[in-house]
């Protein structure tokens, strides 16, 4: 017996935090304009000691105003999508559940686009209209996962294959709606089609958006984390979990709302980045096991690492132009999905 202790959990997280810091440094260094590690370290020290006036202005601009916000965005988006993926996998008892595969990301996109279209007509104060997009994305995500859940049931039980088919069909239906909205509505800033379909981290946001994202992430992920041991039991089936003392309807509701919220959060600022919620939980499960007390924090950190890394590739591989970050994650994620599907079938 080797039960989980707080010390081991913290140690595992610490290792991942170290890797994340390393990846962030790499991401700061590489880009269309190369920054030497020496210059970066020097500027970082100056920044820490408050000697900001000595930092050369274009380096400062590139590092602090362009790359760092983008990296922060990648961290929050990666963590949100991975925690959402882990939660959907436990909730639907399907290792292939992922916000993108199930069409939840597309649902969030539709919600966000509708919110962007509606915003100019509502004449809300700027603070509220900024929240309208994530709210729309959340509602879109929640409606989609509910629809997929009911479509994926056969005789009252969730069937793995039916669920995946329902997700794929729902996603293609929602793509059509996205295309329809994008080609008919010209008003306002609805961003590009590629943004919603493939995902992109290049949009710049105000500081307040980052605060909202960060706080939103911690509240939703924290709510899911309070059900970590319940999710462990839920993997064995709802009836069995109930017999072991899990308040199944309550846990289902908390996780359903929080995971939809996390998906909406990520999609409203970065579009649909594919397969992150599938790859990261799977890799973390292989390394750290399937106990959600470990899995949830490690997938959050792993997701942050994965998306920062993928975005650095997206920025640099074909520089000075950019790939969509979703293209990078899909190149890794789609084969993995096929592998998992084949393995599950045998």
């Amino acid at each position: 017996m080797r039960p989980l202790t707080l010390r081991r959990l913290l140690l595992q997280c610490l290792i991942l935090v170290a890797i994340l810091i390393f990846v962030v440094v790499v991401a700061m260094k590489f880009g269309a304009v190369p920054v030497s590690l020496y210059a970066f370290g020097r500027d970082l020290l100056r920044y820490l000691f408050g000697q900001t006036s000595q930092i050369s202005s274009d380096y400062g601009l590139i590092l602090w105003n362009i790359r760092l916000p983008r990296i922060l965005l990648a961290i929050i988006v990666g963590a949100s999508l991975s925690v959402a993926g882990t939660s959907f996998q436990a909730l639907l008892r399907n290792p292939l559940a992922d916000p993108y595969v199930l069409g939840v990301s597309s649902g969030a996109s539709v919600g966000a686009i509708l919110a962007l279209i509606a915003a100019p007509y509502l004449a809300l104060p700027p603070v509220l209209s900024g929240l309208l997009t994530p709210l729309g994305a959340f509602l879109g995500a929640a409606a989609t996962i509910a629809a997929v859940y009911f479509l994926g049931r056969r005789e009252g039980v969730i069937d793995s294959n039916t669920l995946l088919l329902a997700g794929v069909i729902t996603a293609s239906f929602l793509y059509a709606i996205i295309m329809f909205l994008m080609s008919t509505v010209t008003s306002g800033n609805t961003r590009g089609m590629a943004f919603w379909l493939m995902g992109n981290l290049s949009t710049s946001y105000q500081k307040s958006v980052f605060w909202f994202l960060g706080i939103g992430f911690f509240i939703a992920a924290g709510a899911i984390y309070t059900t970590a041991t319940d999710l462990n039991l839920l993997l064995a089936g709802e009836k069995e979990a109930m017999h072991l003392g899990v308040d199944v309807p309550r846990v289902r509701l908390v996780v359903y709302i929080a995971a939809s919220f996390l998906t909406g959060l990520a999609v409203s600022v970065s579009g649909s980045i594919a397969y992150v919620g599938l790859i990261v939980p799977h890799v973390m499960r292989l390394i750290f096991g399937s106990d959600h007390r470990t899995l949830l924090p490690t997938t959050a950190l792993g997701g942050a690492i994965a998306v920062v890394f993928a975005d650095t590739l997206a920025r640099t591989v074909v520089a000075p132009t950019e790939l969509a970050v979703g293209a990078v994650t899909a190149i890794v994620g789609a084969p993995l999905f096929i592998y998992l599907l084949r393995r599950g079938a045998s």
């Binding site: 041991t229 319940d230 003392g245 899990v246 308040d247």
Partner: protein
């Protein structure tokens, strides 16, 4: 174990139907229908029986006789249409899932795992209802899980993976998880279904021993007439949603009654242990 003062409080709620009964099923009925406006597809007519600590009760009957429905009612997962089920004086259906899991352990036919865990992790799941929602297992939990594994003679399986042990071993581990819940009432739904004969006998023998040692009340739903006769103190005989008779095996195991219930010719004789033994006759004889 976990019984004792916690159940003595609230004396006003406590109803003594029988002085020393732990489980008391009182005139319980149930109706299942797919659509409320239609006639029910299945009904369970008023059923009553009582069981003391340390007693093994077998619920017997052919398919669709209402055995599993009765078991679900006892777990508290279903609410009876009329009547009530009391465990130490508390109505099982109105307990919260957490409290219920501290007092009632259910062993299902099969446990399907999405991501196979280690045996010890699986057994520790039984401690879930005794801890707060988010916490790490205490030394007590580990000790209880270890003891539970030892009680079903599966201590050596502790570090194996759940998908690498045999069907009989798996059934013992599932039983160990139920023991880790430290329940008052142990419910088993056809636990012998996928087991070979040696494992079946072993399981029921273990149940008998545990009931005596830990003072559990054990309720088993089963098809195995002879195993029930050998190991049960009381038998509840069911047919088409009706409880036909409740009593010790010697009073239930009568040729005409069993032939009528199971719709097959059979003979009943006294086995070497002094308990009845059923031989099913094929039609040609």
């Amino acid at each position: 174990m976990s019984s004792g003062p916690a159940f003595a409080r609230n004396a006003s709620d406590t109803v003594r139907s029988s002085a020393d009964a732990r489980l008391s099923v009182e005139q319980v009925s149930y109706a299942y229908s797919a659509n409320p406006s239609q006639a029910p597809l299945f009904t369970l007519e008023a059923t009553s029986f009582q069981a003391k600590p340390g007693e093994v009760v077998a619920i017997l009957g052919p398919n669709a006789s209402g055995k599993s429905t009765l078991l679900k009612l006892i777990t508290g997962a279903l609410a009876p249409l009329s009547g009530r089920i009391l465990l130490n004086g508390f109505v099982t259906h109105s307990l919260t899932p957490r409290t219920r899991a501290q007092r009632i352990a259910v062993v299902q036919q099969e446990s399907v795992l999405l991501f196979p865990s280690r045996v010890w992790e699986f057994v520790l799941q039984g401690r879930h209802a005794h801890g707060r929602s988010l916490r790490f297992e205490s030394d007590d939990d580990l000790l209880i899980a270890k003891n539970a594994l030892a009680q079903v003679r599966a201590a050596d399986l502790s570090d194996r993976s759940m998908d690498q042990i045999s069907g009989g071993e798996k059934q013992r581990v599932i039983l160990a998880r139920a023991l880790a819940q430290q329940p008052l009432l142990l419910l088993l739904d056809e636990p012998t279904l996928h087991l070979d004969i040696a494992a079946q006998v072993d399981l029921l023998h273990t149940l008998r021993r545990l009931a005596a040692e830990n003072r559990y009340t054990v309720v088993v739903v089963t098809h195995e007439l002879n195993l029930a006769a050998e190991y049960a103190d009381q038998v509840v005989l069911m047919q088409r949603g009706r409880c036909l008779r409740v009593g010790p095996p010697s009073s239930i195991y009568q040729r005409e009654l069993l032939e009528q219930v199971f719709q097959t010719p059979l003979t009943v004789e006294l086995g070497p242990s002094g308990r009845p033994r059923v031989t099913v006759l094929s039609d040609r004889q």
